[in-house]
C-alpha cells in the first residue's frame, strides 16, 4: 500500500493526466456531482456519488456503431470507432465498480460486444472507499463492502491522506508511475477507517434489507404476486430509474438517415417505455404493471438465473433518490420479500 498527503492529490492527478485522460466526479454549478475530465483547477467532488452512473464510460447513452455510404449500387461500410487511448476513471464507489462486473457478463459473453470490450480494455478504474454512506445505500444487501472497493486501484481518503492499493496489473503499472509522489506505508489508518465505516453501515436504515426471497428459480413464485398491482399503480412509465441505474443495460439499435448515407447507432432503451422491444407482433408487455414487473424481475430473478445467482442491483440508491414517485427496488423487495424484510 502507498500513500500521499491530501495536498499532493492534485499533483497526482496531474501526473496521471500527463499520460491518460482522467475523469473524476466534479460538482456542477448546482452542486451535483458528475464525471468530468480533470484539468488544472478542477476539484474532486465531496459528494457520495454522481447523479449519473459511470456506466457511460463503457456503455454510453448513444454511440454510432457503423456508417453506410451509398454510391450507385455500392454500399461502403464505415467503421465509426475512434477510441483507442487508455483512460482513467477516478473516484468510482464500490457499488459502481461492481456494476461493471454485471455489465461485463452481458457484453463480454459470446458474442462479445466489441464496442464495449474495447472501452473496458482501455479503461483503468480507480475506486474510492466510502466514508459517509447515505440512508439510501444498501450495497451490503448484495454482498458489496463499501470500505473495500474493487477496481484496478483502490483508494481510501482520510482527513489528511490518500491511500493507494493496486489490485490488477493495469493498476500496478499506473501506481508505478506515481512512485515519486507516493510513499510505501502500512494499512493501519485504512483499517481504522474500515472499522468506523463498517459500524456506520450497521446503523443504516436499510441495514437489514435482504434479497433472500429473490434469485434464480423464483420466477413461478413471484411472477404472479398480487403485490405487483399496487407497487406499479403510480408508476409514470418514465425512464429515470433505468437511465440513472448503473446496471440497466438494455438498448435499441436504429438507422439514422443522414441524407448522404446511413448511420447505425445504438442508444439506451428502457423497459418502462411503451415501445420497448416492439416487434412485428407488437410490444410484449402491454401494461405498465408488466413493464414495471419486468424491470425488477430482471434484476432480482432473471439475471441471477443466467449468471450464477448474481443479482443485477448494486444498491447504489440512485433510484431511491430520483424516482419521481419514489417507487423503487427497496420498496419492491420489502413488499414482495415479506414481513421479515421490514
Amino acid at each position: 500500500m502507498r500513500k500521499c498527503s491530501l495536498e499532493k492529490l492534485d499533483s497526482v492527478f496531474a501526473e496521471i493526466a500527463n499520460s491518460f485522460k482522467l475523469y473524476l466526479p466534479v460538482d456542477d454549478k448546482d452542486g451535483k456531482a458528475k464525471y468530468s475530465e480533470w484539468a488544472e483547477g478542477v476539484k474532486w467532488s465531496n459528494a457520495l456519488n454522481t447523479v449519473r452512473s459511470p456506466k457511460d464510460f463503457f456503455f454510453p447513452q448513444t454511440e454510432d456503431l457503423m456508417g453506410f455510404k451509398c454510391s450507385g449500387k455500392n454500399i461502403e461500410i464505415i467503421d465509426t470507432r475512434n477510441e483507442s487511448e487508455d483512460f482513467v476513471v477516478f473516484g468510482v464507489r464500490a457499488c459502481d465498480v461492481k456494476s461493471f462486473d454485471i455489465l461485463d457478463r452481458v457484453f463480454l459473453k459470446d458474442p462479445v460486444d466489441s464496442y464495449y470490450s474495447n472501452r473496458r480494455d482501455h479503461g483503468i478504474i480507480i475506486s474510492v472507499a466510502c466514508t459517509r454512506p447515505a440512508e439510501t445505500c444498501f450495497c451490503h444487501t448484495f454482498g458489496i463492502d463499501p470500505t473495500e472497493p474493487a477496481g484496478d486501484i483502490s483508494v481510501w481518503k482520510t482527513d489528511s491522506e490518500v491511500f493507494w492499493q493496486s489490485n490488477t496489473e493495469k493498476g500496478a503499472a499506473l501506481l508505478e508511475k506515481l512512485q515519486a509522489l507516493t510513499e510505501e506505508c502500512d494499512a493501519d489508518a485504512v483499517n481504522d477507517q474500515k472499522e468506523k465505516v463498517s459500524a456506520i453501515m450497521k446503523k443504516l436504515p436499510l441495514a437489514g434489507l435482504t434479497a433472500d426471497k429473490f434469485g434464480a428459480g423464483k420466477t413461478k413464485e413471484l411472477f404472479d404476486a398480487p403485490e405487483w398491482d399496487s407497487l406499479s399503480e403510480a408508476c409514470l412509465g418514465c425512464g429515470t430509474c433505468t437511465f440513472i441505474c448503473p446496471t440497466c443495460q438494455c438498448y435499441d439499435i436504429k438507422d439514422f438517415n443522414t441524407g448522404k448515407g446511413v448511420v447505425r447507432f445504438r442508444c439506451w432503451d428502457s423497459c418502462m417505455y411503451s415501445e420497448f422491444t416492439k416487434m412485428s407482433a407488437g410490444q410484449p408487455r402491454l401494461t405498465q404493471k408488466e413493464r414495471f414487473r419486468q424491470r425488477f424481475m430482471h434484476k432480482l430473478v432473471y439475471y441471477p438465473e443466467n449468471n450464477d445467482g448474481l443479482f443485477s442491483c448494486v444498491g447504489c440508491g440512485r433510484c431511491l433518490a430520483k424516482c419521481p414517485i419514489s417507487m423503487n427496488i427497496v420498496k419492491v423487495m420489502k413488499t414482495i420479500g415479506g414481513k421479515e424484510n421490514e
Binding site: 456542477d28 448546482d30 452542486g31 451535483k32 457520495l48 447523479v51 449519473r52 447513452q61 448513444t62 459517509r132 454512506p133 447515505a134 440512508e135 456506520i200 446503523k203 443504516l204 436504515p205 436499510l206 399496487s230 399503480e233 403510480a234 409514470l236 412509465g237 418514465c238 425512464g239 429515470t240 433505468t242 437511465f243 440513472i244 435499441d252 436504429k254 439514422f256 447507432f265 442508444c267 439506451w268 432503451d269 428502457s270 417505455y273 411503451s274 415501445e275 416492439k278 431511491l320 430520483k322 419521481p324 414517485i325 419514489s326 417507487m327 423503487n328 427497496v330 420498496k331 420489502k334
Partner: protein, 332 residues
Amino acid sequence: MQKITREQLIDKAVSLLSDGTVECVLGWEKGQFDYDITPAVFNDENELRENFVWNDFCGANFSKYLVSKTRKCNGKMLVFLKPCDTYSFNQLLTEHRFDREKVYAVGIPCEGMADIDKIKAACGDGIISIDASGDKLNVHTLYSDEPISVSAESVFAERCMNCKSKKHVAYDELLGEDGDVIESHRFDEVAEIEAMTPDERFAFWQNELSRCIRCNACRDACPACTCEKCVFDNPNSGVENKAAANSFEEKMFHIIRAFHVAGRCTDCGECSRVCPQHIPLHLLNRKFIKDINSFYGDYQAGAEVGTRAPLVDYTTDDLEPGEVFERGGDNA
C-alpha cells in the same frame, strides 16, 4: 409545517368511504423515509390509518392520475388537492380528460412543500428522519448527534418559493381555510433570461438542456401532457427519438413540449420537480405564460373550467405576427 393534520385528512377520507360517497381514495403513501412518498389508491380505513401520510413532502400533483385512475374506479374517487393542483384539475376538465362525476375533490391548504435535495445540500446525506415544528424542519442524520434545524422556507421547492396561489379553484369540499391568489415573483427569472444577449441565452439553455437524459419524467409527470400516445413514443411519427442524435435534439424535444403545453400549462412545476438532472424546465413554460399575459392580457390556465385560452380563441384584437417580429433586435 402543514396546518392541516394527517389525522384530519384520514378522518375525512374514512367518513366519505363509510357513508358511501366515495369508493376509494387517492392519497400519499409513506415510504422508507419521511420524504419518499408515493401516490397510492387506498381502499379502506386500515390502509389509510397504516400508510396514508401528509407532510411537507407531499408534492406530487394528483390531477393527472385522475385520467387513468377514474377509469378503473366504478364509483367516485376521493382526491386531495392542494391549491396549485386544483388549477391542473380544472385544466384537465376543460380538456375533457376525466369524468368530473367520478371524482370527489377535497381541497386542502398547503403551506409549501420541501425539496429534499435542498435539505440534503443543507444537512448532508444520511437523513434518518425529518420532523416539522412551526416553520422549522428538524433533520436527524447519521452524522450529527443533534438534529439540524432548517427553516422550512429555505428548503421550499422552487414552485413553492414562487407560489402563485393559495386559493383553491376547484373542490367539492374544503378542509381548513381558503387562501388568495398571490403576487408572486415567478416571472423574475424569466425576465433575467430575456435580458440576456442571444448568445448568453443560448449558452444558458445549452448548459441546462445538455444534461437531459431523455428519461421523459417531465413529460410523464406533466398534467398538461395527457396524450394517450406521445408523438415522441410513436415509431411511425418520424420524430420518435429515444436518443438525441445531437445536442440540438434535446432542445427540440423540450421546446416542442413547451409549445404543446403553451396556454394550457398552469405552472404547477411538476416538470422541474421530477427532473433527475435539475433542469429548470418550468422556465420555458413561464416564458410562454409571461408572453401570453403581455400579448393577450393576464391569463391563468385552469383558473376556471371551460375558458377558451387566448391561443385557441380568435378575436379581431389579436396580436399580429409582425408585432412579435418588431420586438426583435438583440433580445428577440
